[in-house]
Symmetry: C2
Subunit: 190 residues, 2 copies
Amino acid sequence: MAGRGDATRARLIDAARTLVEERGYFGAGLNDVIAAGRAPRGSLYHHFPGGKDQLVAEALAVSGREVTELIAGLAAEASDTAELIEAVLDALADRMEAAGYAKGCPIAAVALEAASGNDVLQRVCADVYGGWERALADRLIADGHAPGRADDLAGSLLALVEGSLVLARAQRSRTPVERARRSARTMLGS
Amino acid sequence: MAGRGDATRARLIDAARTLVEERGYFGAGLNDVIAAGRAPRGSLYHHFPGGKDQLVAEALAVSGREVTELIAGLAAEASDTAELIEAVLDALADRMEAAGYAKGCPIAAVALEAASGNDVLQRVCADVYGGWERALADRLIADGHAPGRADDLAGSLLALVEGSLVLARAQRSRTPVERARRSARTMLGS
DNA sequence: GTCTATAGCCAGATAGAC
DNA sequence: GTCTATCTGGCTATAGAC
């Protein structure tokens, strides 16, 4: 049954996605989330009886799917994996710059804060990263790499992307992402 | 004048370093810091009149210097940059695993949480990353790389290290770091 | 310079009217 | 299912005895 309640739910998830990406799990207060989502406190616990953990877990999963779809969309237009990585980095860097370096990877901050101490969120982050890695590895295999080698490469390409976003936000500069762009090509040997 | 006050100060910085690395800026409460540092509340504000921001800024700076020294120490034994990166990754991975994936990069979580919204901490993180990058670039130049190329490579190697630590903590696995180890060699073309 | 007590505020969560 | 009022507890920071 789709109703107005779903709209409220969606707004809360959207607000959580934004605030969690900008300030992390502990930095994103629920008061800010309900204000940004224009929802009363009660609605939050109606839609997310599991409280903050459930809301953030769902927000991370949605962001994860969005990036997976971004990768799939860009993969359809890229002629090889190197072009795909470049397109992904360009898209993420544009988004980051447009947000004044308040955005980068939507799940990295939570991944670090929750690595120890919150098993539910740690699992969600691991799954999201696993999905992105899988998408890259599939493309590498389609490009002719051996499966085992493809997994290794996909993991390192993802690490390069993630790390460049951390450095770019810390230094408020697009440079680390552009360097990663070039290095990805070197890693892929083309 | 070295006195007992300095010991208290050092304990507080040490406690802040640990807790901030594990849970980030917002996740590391001062109550936990003073408990771990075995110091009363008043001492914290005596030694750090600037409050939490000053304490965390100093903690990040100390951690930054420690890693810089780690790089310098390992560089003295490594025969080339590839060996240096491998040794750095091994050391960080050992530390991470020993801590049950509660540790990784001592400043990454804060870098993400403070990228927007806390100019003081953002600057500290940018400086620390800049110092590590400089140390790697210097070694690359010593190995015969052209300065401009060395800066690019150093930035990407650092991104690869940082990203692999994020993935490793999220997945609670050493694998991402080991993949980065191999890929660093590919990036350096040896 | 060490330490306690507490102010003042905001967090996450809940109860219950409508 | 929407919304308000409120509970409890934790947070950062400060005041002031010793």
